[in-house]
């Protein structure tokens, strides 16, 4: 099962390596990990996408809670939540492909944020499967490079993760 785990952690040097070290030391799986400071700059928030049985996910949350700098851990996927990921994708855009790429980007509500004679950079946000679909929808030979942020997630409605 795929889980979305949110972690509030002290924004200190080395905090990220404590988390990533924990995952590698105990053989847990990380699909993606994003981290940035929150509105309170003394805290960082991570979103970790991991897969594992219920027992493993339970251990992951317990082990994360054991890290001294971790303030709170929530498994967002236990209830309704929203996930988003940002992708920047650079494509070869020449001739008739220019129009076609623009059209596909529009369908996916992507935006072209950089244009040259021969390339576009398209910005796209959505959940992981939407980004995957976009990549699948355009001619693979046109893709020059892609970069994705990994998933960040937040609970819906009254579910709030803060101090």
């Amino acid at each position: 099962m795929r889980h979305v785990i949110s972690v509030l952690i002290e924004n200190e040097a080395g905090a990220l390596s404590r988390v990533s070290g924990l995952f590698s030391a105990r053989g847990y799986n990380i699909e993606s990990l994003t981290v940035a400071p929150t509105e309170d700059v003394s805290l960082s928030r991570m979103t970790i996408i991991s897969t594992g049985s219920d027992d493993i996910i339970e251990q992951i949350t317990k082990q994360l809670n054991k890290l001294i700098e971790v303030v709170k851990v929530v498994d967002l996927s236990e209830a309704a939540h929203v996930e988003r990921e940002l992708m920047l994708i650079k494509v070869r855009a020449t001739g008739k492909d220019r129009e076609e790429l623009k059209r596909v980007a529009d369908i996916f509500r992507g935006r072209i944020i950089d244009v040259t004679d021969s390339t576009y950079v398209i910005e796209l946000t959505g959940n992981t499967s939407k980004l995957d679909s976009f990549v699948g929808a355009i001619d693979a030979s046109l893709i020059l490079e892609t970069v994705r942020t990994g998933v960040c997630g937040i609970g819906r409605g009254d579910r709030i993760l803060r101090l």
């Binding site: 002290e10 070290g21 082990q63 054991k66 001294i68």
Partner: protein
Amino acid sequence: MLLTGAEIVVRCLAEEKVEYVFGYPGGAVLYLYDELFKQDAVRHVLVRHEQAALHAADAYSRSTDRVGVALVTSGPGVTNAITGIATAYMDSIPMVIISGQVPTAAIGQDAFQECDTVGITRPCVKHNFLVKDAKDIASTIKKAFYIAKTGRPGPVLVDIPKDITIAKAEYEYPKSVTMRSYNPIIKGHQGQIKKAVQLLLDAKRPMIYAGGGVILSDCSEQLTKLVRTLGAPCTNTLMGLGAYPATDKQFVGMLGMHGNYEANMAMQYCDVLIAVGARFDDRVIGNPADFARIARKIIHIDIDPSSISKRVKVDVPIVGNLPDVLDDILRLLDGSADRPDQEALGEWWKQIEEWRRRDCLKYKQSDEIIKPQFVIEKLWEVTKGDAFVTSDVGQHQMWAAQYYKFDKPRRWLNSGGLGTMGVGIPYGIGVQLAHPGSPVAVVTGEGSVQMNIQELSTCKQYRIPLKICSLNNRYLGMVRQWQEIIHGNRYSESYMDSLPDFPKLAEAYGHIGMRIEKPGDVEGALREAFKRKNDLVFLDFQVDQTENVYPMVMGGKGLTDMILSSEDL
């Protein structure tokens, strides 16, 4: 008050009432050593290898309820210390390690004696810090002690660059610590505790399984009361020996891979099991699937939530500080109108006595050759069961655990989790300094003892009168045993040729050495050694080369699938 970083460090240690710092000087810690030199509140013990400093500080802590402190220099000082840190981490021993670091400006420049200490130690410490400003030293050391001894204890490392020890800062030692990200749970969940009490009162075949957590949280008294109130059998893990008195009739012995037959059987066939500060590890319950084969209700009390339901599914988890939770359980038991079912208990004990009659620790005595088990039995007799015993790792460790009947907590010190050979002598140093005048025996073998033999020199310098009982069988015995049983007697690299003359070696270090070759001389030698209260005596017992540790549960097998003697092979 404006002080240098080095002064602040030493002041902080004094403030924490640190009696001994175990360490080894070097370039990055010169200013710290200079401050140690100028005062006499904190005493320093100079070891011969940093690993031993860590083990000695670890043992100081294991045998008391205090935090052990070690001091090492940067680079190789730290890497040498790693085994000692990992050993303490695996057994949840509260320690603070101060390490020197190259000057802040040199960090990351591949400077002389630089290593990424925070990175290298991260997986084997409870927490670590790199101090980047002299004004943070006091609060960091305060936090380090607090984190080390609260919650599930463990080693905490504070890495201090050399320039920070020279820089000046205002000094004030914080009175208390509050950390929003670290708040260990103390009280157990009352609903769960009620459920546990009812299960225990309704049990037909209750069993109490106590581990190192009982020792670390100093609640042997409550545990003993619980065992007596319930009238149930009690087993201790290797780390828990001494938590419940071994000479008591309700004690069924250690359990696990080399556990007593009756302990393992009772673990398997009980209907309600209460685990107190123990973690169902692989050496204790064998194959978890086989353990789960028989239905039983499991209550698990532990301060670390991640220890619960890690290897074995638990019915009633209770997260909390053991003494607090046990107090709550005892109060509810006292207040309850229900009593344990005496008739069912009678049947259960009849079954246990039947298992006990297998006499699983019996061995064939000999007039010709010393049996290693016999040495431990005599050691117990001669010391009246009241010595501090440290051990190394291997067959001798198991024999000490099986045959020395520990009645008190914090008397038995060994590396249970990491299984570190070479801890014996340094552990002895830490224990003896914490308990001057008490008899301290080091049970070791000719393999393990050579892994930190240089510490005989430390023992001389600080007049540490250990009684080192080496069960010398000229083999790495536990390896040899597995090779005999699993690898068709192919003794690959487990025989040691060219052993030193140990008694002479002890003499070279300024101690007394004895070689004992006949069973009839064992007791006399031990008596003679313990009579020499101020001398370190190295007793080189020439023991049976082919003796094995039984009972034995092979790796991956079920707990009751025991080999009781060589005839079962």
